[in-house]
């Protein structure tokens, strides 16, 4: 069984995931700079990369949901059209 509210899925993909991704971007920006000695900067860089990569991945999740909703709507639209308008052969023998 497939049940989908494409408007809602699109809203999640278009609004909620990007909002979450923005938070990751803001957190990453806070730790992007600053000097320290020894191993600390490379650890900081590693954590910064966790956050910026997560930001990017969350945006991807949102994009996938939007695409999924769009694809579903398009398929439904095509199916609805195809069903509403019987093909030529219904009315005319095309094989002759």
């Amino acid at each position: 069984m497939v049940e989908i509210d494409t408007d809602e899925v699109r809203r999640v993909g278009r609004n909620l995931y990007p909002t979450l991704a923005d938070k990751y971007a803001a957190a990453a920006a806070l730790i992007a700079e600053g000097d320290a000695d020894g191993e600390w900067p490379s650890y900081r860089d590693q954590i910064w990369t966790y956050l910026t990569t997560s930001e990017s991945h969350l945006r991807n999740c949102g994009e996938v949901l939007v695409k999924l909703a769009d694809d579903y709507d398009q398929t439904e639209q095509e199916n609805a059209y195809n069903i509403a308008y019987p093909y030529e052969s219904t009315y005319r023998n095309e094989s002759s």
Binding site: I4, V12, L16, A36, G38, E39, S42, N60, C61, V64
Partner: protein, 295 residues
């Protein structure tokens, strides 16, 4: 105590020490003249003892001891920028875990997708919604580790500043407790004997460097006199510096260990494969698995 206060206090402690040291040196000088029966040799001894370490106040400021002390004090530097960095990490943690943090977004996403049911919906929810919370918790912890490391460097500086400030205080206490009689009885008497022994030969043959070397050896052996106490102070600075280096090295090792132990997939939010991945995988002739194709 901020950096400026620290320096002011260090200067004050050093000045206190120097005031007493110069009094003691004068007393040593008078005693040396007495021991050597007012012969000019006493002047030579005084000159040699005080030439390197103390002498006039201005000269002492450039002495090896003070240079070492100031050089180490500079390493216990201003950590305002480090405190700012710690504040920034706290703010980043608040974004992830505060009242308006990531959890509220996860809840809204979960609610938004609750009515979506299909062959892939459950997989999506498990892989790309439910995992966010745990990854966020790990990221929050990693930020906490980074903050703790900075906090240690601040604590180190505080502790070593206190130790640096204490060195002149302890040296002053040693000077206060220092009995001039023991100096005359042991160190200076021995020095005087050595000098006089050399002086028995033609005085012109007295090689200053050789005398200085003998005095230095005696000072180290006897550990007495103002110069001996200052030698101990200098060693104290060197020991502090070694200890500080070792503390930083230990901290560095722990930070590196933590950094290298963190497993990437536990700290990064997942994403679905991009468009074309299936085709790419189907057409691939070697390597490049579906789950390992990218980050």
């Amino acid at each position: 105590m901020d950096y400026e206060e620290f320096w002011d206090q260090l200067q004050a402690n050093w000045d206190d020490l120097m005031d007493l040291a110069l009094d003691k040196i004068s007393a040593e000088k008078d005693a040396l003249w007495a021991v050597t029966a007012n012969t000019p040799v006493a002047g030579a001894i005084y000159h040699i003892i005080n030439n390197d370490e103390l002498g006039q106040t201005d000269a002492s400021r450039t002495s090896e001891t003070l240079i070492d002390l100031e050089s180490f004090a500079e390493r216990c530097s201003d950590y305002t920028a480090t405190l700012d960095q710690m504040g920034a990490i706290d703010a980043a943690r608040e974004i992830l875990n505060g009242d308006d943090g990531v959890d509220s977004d996860i809840r809204l996403i979960t609610e938004g997708l609750s009515t979506w049911e299909s062959g892939t919906s459950e997989t999506f929810k498990v892989e790309y919604v439910e995992t966010i919370g745990q990854r966020k918790a790990n990221q929050y912890e990693a930020l906490g580790n980074a903050k703790t490391a900075l906090d240690y460097t601040v604590k180190f500086v505080d502790e070593y500043r206190a130790a640096v400030l204490d060195l002149p205080v302890q040296a002053k206490k040693a000077l206060e407790a220092y009995d001039l009689g023991s100096y005359i009885g042991l160190g200076t008497a021995a020095i005087a004997v050595q000098i006089i022994g050399l002086a028995a030969k033609p005085l012109a043959g007295l090689v200053l460097a050789e005398v200085e070397k003998k005095i230095t050896e005696l000072q180290k052996r006897e550990g007495t006199g103002v110069a001996g106490i200052f030698e101990e102070l200098r060693k104290g600075v060197q020991e502090l510096e070694k200890s500080y280096d070792a503390s930083l090295e230990d901290l560095d090792a722990k930070v590196a260990e933590q950094r290298d132990a963190e497993f990437w997939p536990d700290f990064v939010c997942s994403r679905p494969s991009p468009d074309g991945a299936l085709v790419e995988q189907s057409g691939a002739t070697s390597g490049g698995g579906h789950t390992g194709g990218g980050i």
